[in-house]
C-alpha cells in the first residue's frame, strides 16, 4: 500500500513537470514557435508599410509575411536578439522599436531622462521661491499708510 502511494505521488510529480511552462517551451524549441512567442518578438518590430504600427497588431500582407519570417527564424533556433539583428540588417534600423544604443541613437536614451532631470532641478530650486509671498514695496507703502492713518485718527479723538 505504501509502495502504491509512492508510485502515485511520483506519477503526479511527473505529470506536473510535463505540464510546466519550462517543459512546454523545451518541447517547442525544436518545432514551430507558438503564436504568443512570435507576437512577443513582433511587438518590438514596426510595420514596414503603415507608420507607427507594431508588427504584432498589423494586418497588412507585408506584416503577415514578416510574422511568418519571425516564426521561421525562431524555429531555426534564432534568439530574439538575433531576429532583431536580422530584421535590422535586412530592412534597416527603422523597423526596430528600440534603436540600438550607439552613435546618435544614444540621444534617444539620453535626452528624455536628462530633460526630466533638468526640469525637476529647475522646479525644485524655484518652487520654494514661487510659494513664498513676495514682500513688495507696495506692501510696505500700505503699512506706512495704515500706520499714519491710525496716528491721525488717534490725534483727532
Amino acid at each position: 500500500m505504501k509502495r502504491l502511494g509512492l508510485l502515485f505521488a511520483l506519477s503526479l510529480l511527473l505529470a506536473a513537470c510535463a505540464g510546466s511552462p519550462a517543459a512546454i517551451q523545451s518541447t517547442q524549441q525544436g518545432g514551430a514557435p507558438s503564436a504568443d512567442r512570435v507576437n512577443a518578438v513582433a511587438k518590438n518590430l514596426y510595420c514596414p508599410v503603415c507608420a507607427n504600427v507594431p508588427l504584432d497588431v498589423c494586418g497588412t500582407a507585408a506584416c503577415v509575411q514578416w510574422r511568418g519570417q519571425i516564426a521561421e527564424l525562431l524555429a531555426e533556433g534564432y534568439s530574439e536578439q538575433q531576429v532583431y539583428d536580422y530584421f535590422a540588417a535586412q530592412y534597416g534600423q527603422g523597423v526596430l522599436a528600440l534603436p540600438p544604443a550607439r552613435g546618435l541613437n544614444w540621444l534617444v536614451y539620453l535626452i528624455p531622462p536628462l530633460g526630466i532631470g533638468v526640469a525637476a532641478l529647475f522646479l525644485g530650486r524655484n518652487l520654494k521661491r514661487w510659494k513664498q509671498p513676495a514682500a513688495t514695496s507696495q506692501t510696505k507703502l500700505d503699512d506706512d499708510y495704515a500706520r499714519k492713518l491710525e496716528e491721525e485718527l488717534k490725534a483727532r479723538r
Binding site: 508599410v49 497588412t60 509575411q65 519570417q69 540588417a89 534597416g92 513676495a134
Partner: protein, 181 residues
C-alpha cells in the same frame, strides 16, 4: 527684500547653449532630409551596389553608358503585380541590345516571397533585395512601385510613381533616351 541669486558659471552657460544648438542642428538636418522630395529629372542618380538574389553584384558605376531602369517593388504590393508583366515584356524587347539594363529592387520583402513573385511572373531581369533599405532611401523613394530610369550619364531621366500601365509607357521612355544619346 533683496534676492540672493547665484550667478551661473560661464562653463554652464556655454554648455547649455552648446547643447541647445546641437539639438537644433540635429532637428534641422532631420527636417531637411525628410522634406526633400523624390529624386527628380536631371539629378545625378545616387551610387548603389545591388547584390542580386542569385549572388551577382551590380555596381551603379559599372552601368554608366547604359540606360538603366530601376524598379522598386514588393511581393505584397498589388500594383506591382499589375506592372510585372509589362516590365518583363519590355525587358524581352531590349535584353539583346546590351545598352539597356533592367534592375528589380525588392523593398522590405522576405526573400522567400520575393523569389516566389519572380517565379510566378516569369521575371528574367536582375533582381535583388534592398538590404537595409539603403537604395530606397538614397533614391528618396516614397513607396512601391516606383521606377527610376537613369540615362547613360548616370542622371535621372524619368521617375514613375505607381505602376506602368502598359509596355508602351516603358518603351517610350527608354526609346527616347536611346535615340537622344
Amino acid at each position: 527684500m533683496t534676492e540672493n541669486k547665484k550667478p551661473v558659471s560661464i562653463v554652464g552657460r556655454v554648455l547649455a547653449w552648446g547643447l541647445l544648438l546641437a539639438l537644433l542642428t540635429l532637428v534641422a538636418i532631420q527636417l531637411r532630409s525628410s522634406l526633400q522630395g523624390i529624386l527628380t529629372r536631371g539629378e545625378q542618380a545616387p551610387a548603389f551596389t545591388l547584390t542580386t538574389f542569385d549572388g551577382q553584384t551590380v555596381r551603379s558605376e559599372d552601368l554608366l553608358g547604359k540606360v538603366v531602369l530601376l524598379n522598386i517593388w514588393a511581393s505584397w504590393c498589388a500594383p506591382c503585380i499589375e506592372e510585372a508583366a509589362h516590365l518583363e515584356q519590355a525587358w524581352q524587347h531590349y535584353k539583346d541590345r546590351g545598352d539597356v539594363v533592367f534592375l528589380g529592387l525588392a523593398y522590405v520583402d522576405t526573400e522567400k516571397e520575393s523569389l516566389a513573385f519572380i517565379e510566378e511572373h516569369n521575371i528574367t531581369y536582375l533582381n535583388g533585395p534592398d538590404l537595409g533599405t539603403t537604395i530606397y532611401t538614397a533614391f528618396r523613394a516614397r513607396g512601391v512601385p516606383e521606377t527610376f530610369v537613369i540615362n547613360k550619364y548616370g542622371e535621372i531621366a524619368s521617375v514613375k510613381i505607381g505602376p506602368y500601365l502598359s509596355v508602351e509607357e516603358i518603351t517610350t521612355v527608354i526609346d527616347r533616351l536611346l535615340e537622344l544619346e
